[in-house]
Every structure is written in C-alpha cells, then in structure tokens.
C-alpha cells in the first residue's frame, strides 16, 4: 500500500504531465476513475491559463488570443505557481513567451508583455504620504550622500528595446490603426500607479539610472555616480529636487545606523 507522500507525488505528476499510469489503480469513482481525475487536471490548467490571460489582455490583443492561450497552457505545466497567491503568478511569463518559436516574428513581444506585467503591478499599489521638501531640507549636507530614499510602492523602472509604450497606449485607447510601423528603440520608462490608475513617463537615460538606483536602495551618492557615468552633464541636485517635487519619496534613511524619517 503506497504511503501518502507517494500518492501525492503521483497526483502531482499526473496534474502537471497527464501521466496517470501509476495513479489510476489507487483511485475509485465510477467505472473509469481516471476520467474523473481529469476534472482536477482540467481545473489546474483552466484556472491558471485564465489567470494568465487576465493578466496579459493587451499581449493577447497584440499576439492573438489563440497564440497566447497555447503559450499560457505550456507555461502553467512547465512553470507551476510557487505560492498560493495567484495574483503573484505570471512574473516569468514574458520571458517564457519570448522563447516560444512563434514569437520570433514579434521581437518586441517580450518588452510588451513585460511592460504589461509592470502596469498590472503598479496599478494595484497604494501610495503613501510623500516626504516634503521641508523635511528633506533638514538632512545635513554631510550625511546627504550616504542617505537612502524609499520611493512610492507603485513605482517601477523598466528599460525596453522597442517603443512598446506607444503600442500599449493604442490598446488602452482602443484605437489601433490598420498599420503601425515600429523600429527598435531603447527607451527608459518610469511607471507610476496606485488604486487602479497608472501613467508612464519616458526618462532620459541618466535620470532613469538615478531613479532606478534610488529605488534599488542605493545611496544618493551611488545613484548620482551611476547617472554621471552615463551623462557627464547630469545634475544630481536637480534630479533629487524633481523626485521630491513628484512626491515619489516616502521615507529617508540616514547614515550607517539607518535612522528613518
């Protein structure tokens, strides 16, 4: 008699691969219980494919629902969720999608799906009260370079190789033209969102590096150096002032002790 762990191992394999050969003899339920088992396999596949399609409606619009459904079906079997929070499932789908043979004719597909994933993430964020210019002015000039800043939860930085922001705007406005020409173009995007709303900004490459480095919890000095490597004329003071003015900073952590404002 198999132990429970072996039964679950067989069930696990059967759900993901349809290999029910060793499981069937353990089951009861009707004359052909393997047919009943198909309810579980179908539920796994259908519920997760539906989840993926719901997360990537713009990608389905671009690539076609049939193509996306086929890719999602393979994805859910090859890359099962690792967490019960299905809202977190699908992070790896853009990369998976771009590796599909049929995606070769759409080299911008990865960037587009990645952008859609990020839009979905920032749009469910909840923004926090920003740190004011007055609060920022209390930071000593001596400690400013080592200061860490926390940005709004619904901010995301994304670099893409195609102007997919223009493409997704067509989807959002439901105004696709008959023809849309698109050439490769390196673009640095900042996405901001909260409570169901979002917007996208194209940033200059140095400003993008500064803001992205800040969001990755690098010090102001480190972020500025990274930006200056890309553009010698970059003005860190002005960039910091712009971050404050945009209300993007929500907390300040000063010095090695990490005192937080």
């Amino acid at each position: 008699m198999p132990q429970l762990d072996e039964i679950q191992s067989l069930f696990h394999r059967a759900v993901l691969t349809a290999d029910t050969s060793r499981l069937v003899s353990l089951l009861c339920g009707g004359r052909f219980p393997e047919k009943r088992f198909a309810v579980h396999k179908r539920h796994y596949e259908t519920s997760l494919v539906t989840t993926i399609l719901a997360k990537f409606p713009a990608t389905a619009w671009l690539a076609g629902t049939r193509f996306l459904t086929e890719a999602a079906t393979r994805f859910v079997h090859e890359c099962p969720p690792a967490t019960p929070c299905i809202a977190e499932y699908g992070r790896g789908f853009p990369k998976f999608l771009s590796a599909c043979p049929a995606a070769e004719r759409m080299p911008y597909l990865h960037d587009f799906a990645e952008l859609e994933w990020c839009v979905g993430q920032v749009a469910i964020a909840v923004d926090e009260p920003p740190v004011s210019a007055t609060q920022m002015s209390t930071i000593s000039p001596d400690t400013l370079p080592d200061t860490l800043l926390t940005l709004q939860p619904g901010v995301c930085y994304l670099q893409v190789s195609w102007p997919v922001d223009e493409l997704i705007k067509l989807y959002l406005k439901d105004s696709a033209p008959d023809h849309f020409a698109m050439d490769p173009l390196d673009i640095s995007l900042e996405l901001q969102g909260a409570r169901g709303e979002f917007h996208m900004n194209r940033l200059a490459v140095a400003e993008f590096m500064f803001r992205k480095s800040i969001s990755q919890r690098r010090s102001i000095e480190d972020a500025a150096e990274r930006a200056l490597e890309l553009e010698a004329a970059f003005d860190p003071g002005q960039a910091l002032a712009a971050l404050i003015a945009a209300g993007l900073i929500t907390a300040v952590t000063q010095g090695a002790e990490g005192s937080k404002t």
């Binding site: 009707g30 052909f32 690792a82 019960p84 939860p153």
Partner: protein, 289 residues
Amino acid sequence: MKSIEHLPKVAGIGLRLPHMREMVATRPQTGWLEIHPENFLANPHAAELLLVLSQHYSISVHTVGISIGSTTGMDRLHLKRIRTLVDTINPIFVSGHLAWSTYGSDYLNDLLPLPYDAEALRLVAAHVRELQDFLGRPYLVENPSSYVGFRTSTMRETEFLSELVSRTGCKLLCDVSNAYVSAHNMGYDAHQYIDGLPADAIAEFHLGGYTPEEDEANPSGELLVDTHAAAIAEPAWDLYAYAIRRFGPKPTLIEWDNNVPPLAKLLDEAARAGKIASTAWEAHCAAAR
C-alpha cells in the same frame, strides 16, 4: 475572535474583487462577508478596500492555499502573511479545506483529495493543531467536493472529520453543496452524510453552485462539478433545509467565484438562504413541541 453572541444571524456573501468598489460605495445590507485571503495578500489596493469594509461588516477569512493535507508541509511564509491579515481584520472565522494543494515547491491551485486513513488523519491533525496554535484561534475545516476517492481509504469522510475534531478541537464548516456534489458523484446518500457529521462541531454553512456535465467515468451518467459558477440548485437548497433541522441555524455563506453575477444576485441568494433557514428551523421547532 469575536464571541459567539456577535456571530451573524443572517446569510452573508463571498466578497469577490469585481464587487469591491460597489460594496465600498453602496454598503448593501448583508449578514457578513467572506474573503479568500490569497486574493488580498498580493493586492494592496484590494486590501485597503477590505479594511474599509471590515469597519462595517463582519468578515470571515476562508483560505484556499493552506494545504493542511500536504505531506511536504504547509508554506510557513504564506501562514505568516495570513496571520498578519487575520490580526488586522479580526475575522469571525478562519477556515479552509480538508484537502491538499502543494507538493514541494509547486502549488497546484486546486483542492486535491486525500485518502481517509490513519496516516492522513495523523498528518492533517498535526497541521490543524499547528495552524490553530499559530493563528491563536480555532480553525474551521470544510468538507470537500469529491470526484474520485482512494481504494486505500479505511474510513468514511464523516468518520475522518469526526476524529479530526476529536483530536484537534477544530470546528467544521459544512459545505452543503459539496456534501450534495460528493454524495452524487461517489454514490452515497447526502442526508446520511449530514447525519454522520458531529453536530456540536458545525460552526458554519456554505452554499455554492455546481455544474452538471457528462460523467465520462460512467457512460450516460452525470457528474456534478463544484464550479461556484451558477445559482444554487434546488437539491442543494433542500439539503440545506435538512442540515438546518439537524444542526440548527448557523452563519451561512453564498459562494460564487466564476462567472460572477451582479452583486444584487448574490444578495438575493443570501436572502433566500435566510428564508429557507427560518422556515426549516421553525418547522423543526414546531414539530419538536
């Protein structure tokens, strides 16, 4: 946990994301709300709206991903996230399923069946005890809807649940629709199933819609699939009335997760549950006099 005096007397509805904004804006009358925490843990905006609603409604937390039957253990990180939510909204109940969903690092997004034997009972009881200690409150275990069983089972589901209650002190969530679906699919009597449950442990009822389809395991037969995608069928309402007569009125919840209807339709189903419960209980009391 809120005391028994504060338990809702009228039926509630499962709170689903498409209804969140309408619920916050209109605050319709309903007994209580039940949430799947997994829909809120990774969605800060929905969690914010839930906090607003928790100021106006009693909330029950019904987990779908705890996987108390997994041999590879429960996801500790997930449990911590659930405890944080539970501590924040102070629900009237925390419940989940007699099932497993996780194997190793893979979450299979379904409520998978367990064999009913001594080994599974030991495992599930250990997990329920651990869960109740971790959450600091009783856990309600829901009977599953079944499509297959195991030849190796040595006890009936009702015996398994009774023994689980005895070993852990947990409560039971009697999903009347699941009881009907399982009895139909596995070929036993749904009323006898209700009779076999330990009455003192029943703390809550669930009612949800199922979908009939051709049963490929029994040519010309019909399989009932617990889809939560339709109105509650008449046989389930009848079994609910029977359960009310056996266990007495308990907080009752209408579940509708797929093809989610307008909020008003859910509220109508909840109102119907209230009427059926009142009628059944009054008739039972009158007969007992």
